[in-house]
């Protein structure tokens, strides 16, 4: 069985190399943002100088991005959860088509969506120059993630029986939605929310065309910094972005971890064990 051990080692080495490819630049840029002089290396000492420089110069972009992502989350929740509920109840051709349509802005290059918004609504100055213009783009882009995340959970439970049970006991639509549907798709809503906030914080493809000098988001500021400031400052800015986004991504990973294994047998027959 020596070949199997050899192959195992080979694959492990390969996987570790891929891991290094992904993680090393992240760590490098985090360190670079804290290093006094990147060319000299860590021996030049650690400093918060670059982080402070970014904070004083680009603070507004950070607050704007947080604001937009929270507003985006609120709207995607209001629009997305009821939509997902409707789609889950009516699994027909029409529902399939609507789901398809909602995913279109994700498949479309961000540039195309942004251009379309500009040629249609660019003439309304007040709207064009406000942060809500960017918000519209972000909602378009993230809505599908909320809908799909909630829909995935709703499709996995026996929604029909639960609702019929509640309805037979006299619960109206409103009562069923708030007391049966929402509690059951809690994990889907949570995962969708984390995804929406993460994507909205990092959205650049559309935002670069939608933004104005007064509505610069974090990624727009990042692109600015990469183009015109020294490597250390760009790194410090990236560090701040990572500190904001990585906790969200870790949360997403934690949520998706307990997946039922297909070959354990009785999982599929026992509705209590399904997520």
């Amino acid at each position: 069985m020596d070949t199997r051990k050899f192959l195992f080692g080979l694959q492990l080495a390969f996987t570790l190399a891929v891991c290094a490819f992904l993680v090393v630049p992240v760590v490098m840029s985090m360190l670079a943002g804290l290093t006094a002089n990147y060319l000299t290396g860590l021996s030049s000492g650690l400093t918060l100088r670059w982080v402070i420089e970014v904070w004083t110069g680009y603070r507004d972009t950070i607050f704007l991005s947080i604001g937009i992502s929270v507003a985006c989350l609120a709207i995607t929740l209001l629009l997305g959860v009821p939509t997902a509920y409707l789609l889950a109840r009516s699994r027909n051709r029409m529902a399939r088509f609507i789901e398809e349509l909602l995913v279109l802005p994700v498949a479309m290059p961000g540039l195309a969506t942004a251009l379309a918004l500009i040629v249609t609504y660019g003439v309304y100055r007040g709207f064009r120059t406000s942060w809500t213009f960017i918000l519209v783009g972000h909602v378009l882009f993230t809505l599908a993630f909320m809908v799909r995340s909630v829909l995935a959970v709703l499709s996995a439970i026996d929604l029909k029986t639960l609702e019929e049970g509640a309805a037979s006991l006299g619960a109206g639509l409103r009562q069923r939605f708030f007391h049966i549907v929402l509690p059951n798709c809690r994990n889907g809503i949570l995962a969708g929310s984390l995804m929406v906030v993460t994507l909205s914080m990092g959205e650049f493809n559309m935002t670069w065309l939608l933004h104005t000098p007064y509505t610069k988001t974090l990624p727009v500021g990042l692109a600015d910094a990469y183009a015109s400031l020294r490597l250390e400052t760009g790194s410090a800015y990236t560090l701040i972005f990572f500190l904001m986004v990585i906790p969200l991504l870790l949360g997403l990973q934690a949520l998706s971890r307990p997946r039922p294994s297909r070959f354990r047998g009785d999982d599929e027959l026992n509705p209590e064990k399904l997520p």
Binding site: R4, F8, Q11, F14, T15, V18, C19, F21, L22, V23, V24, P25, V26, M28, S29, L78, L79, G80, P82, T83, L86, I98, L102, L104, V106, A107, M108, P109, G110, L111, A112, T113, L115, A116, L117, T120, Y121, V136, L140, L143, A144, F145, L173, M195, T198, L199, G202, F204, N205, W208, L209, P219, L222, A223, Y226, T238, L250, R259, R262, F263
Partner: protein, 265 residues
């Protein structure tokens, strides 16, 4: 009941369907008229950009599928201490924006990058390729690996390990097991994940923007038409075509793989 869907319908119609129709109409109202929609094939500059874009996208898709296929199947089939940590690290960049990915490429292959430093120490020559199509390729592979590994792992989980055992007990070599059992079993996952790689590589803009404005791929061309030349109708026509191609690739992949596919990024 249908009232629940009304807000989404109104929002979507007003901010996506209507603007997309406007974009299509404006694309035909420039100096070139409706011929603007053919310009992507007839105009040498645009055509070259199209070829470069597709070239990078095909290379990205192939490289990502091989890398994520090997790593994903390995991590799903062999549970060892540290496995979960590796998976966590490999999927962490899942939602990094294109600009940040561009910066990661600069960190690795840029003027002050790691690859440059290592090659200089080894050979005396500094290898710097971040600001070219090669750098863009590297960025898109970086971007696509986390998503693809997740898809491959999920598909491998559903692949019955007894099939591989059976092949092995019948005397198949490891390579035969890979190409006759695992690859065919994962084909739908490969098709849908590959389509997403391709679509994101075709439409992404942030990475190219961070690396260099001179990289001649379609999104950069559209951006230049819009801002530098103020040629809005040509930008509209090109981006509409780009969107249509992306959608078509995803739709074809869906029929081929028989499952729903969503791109991101």
């Amino acid at each position: 009941m249908i009232v629940l869907f009304l807000p989404t319908a109104v929002f979507f119609a007003a901010f996506f369907i209507l603007p997309m129709c406007r974009l299509f109409l404006i694309g035909g109202q420039g100096a070139a008229g409706w011929a603007a929609y053919a310009a992507i094939l007839t105009d040498g500059n645009y055509f070259n950009a199209l070829v470069a874009t597709f070239g990078v996208a095909v290379a990205t898709t192939a490289a990502t599928l091989v890398i994520s296929g090997v790593a994903g199947v390995f991590l799903q089939r062999h549970k060892f201490p540290g496995n979960a940590a590796l998976v966590a690290m490999l999927t962490l960049p899942l939602a990094f924006p294109g600009v940040v990915i561009g910066f990661m490429v600069i960190m690795l292959a840029g003027r002050q990058g790691l690859i440059g430093a290592v090659t200089e120490a080894l050979t005396g020559d500094r290898l710097v390729f971040a600001y070219s199509l090669a750098g863009l390729f590297m960025g898109y592979v970086y971007f696509s690996i986390p998503r693809t590994i997740l898809t491959v792992m999920a598909a491998t989980e559903k692949l019955d390990p007894r099939l591989e055992e059976a092949a092995r007990s019948l005397g198949a070599s490891p390579w035969r097991v890979v190409f006759d059992v695992i690859v065919p079993g994962l084909k739908p996952a490969f098709i849908s994940a590959g389509a997403i790689c391709f679509a994101t590589a075709v439409g992404a803009f942030g990475t190219a923007f961070t690396l260099a404005t001179r990289i001649n791929v379609l999104p950069m061309v559209i951006y230049t038409e819009f801002t530098m030349s103020a040629n809005i109708s040509m930008a509209a026509a090109l981006s509409f075509v780009l969107g249509a191609v992306t959608w078509l690739v995803l739709a074809l992949a869906r029929t081929a793989a028989g499952s729903t596919v969503a791109a991101a990024g």
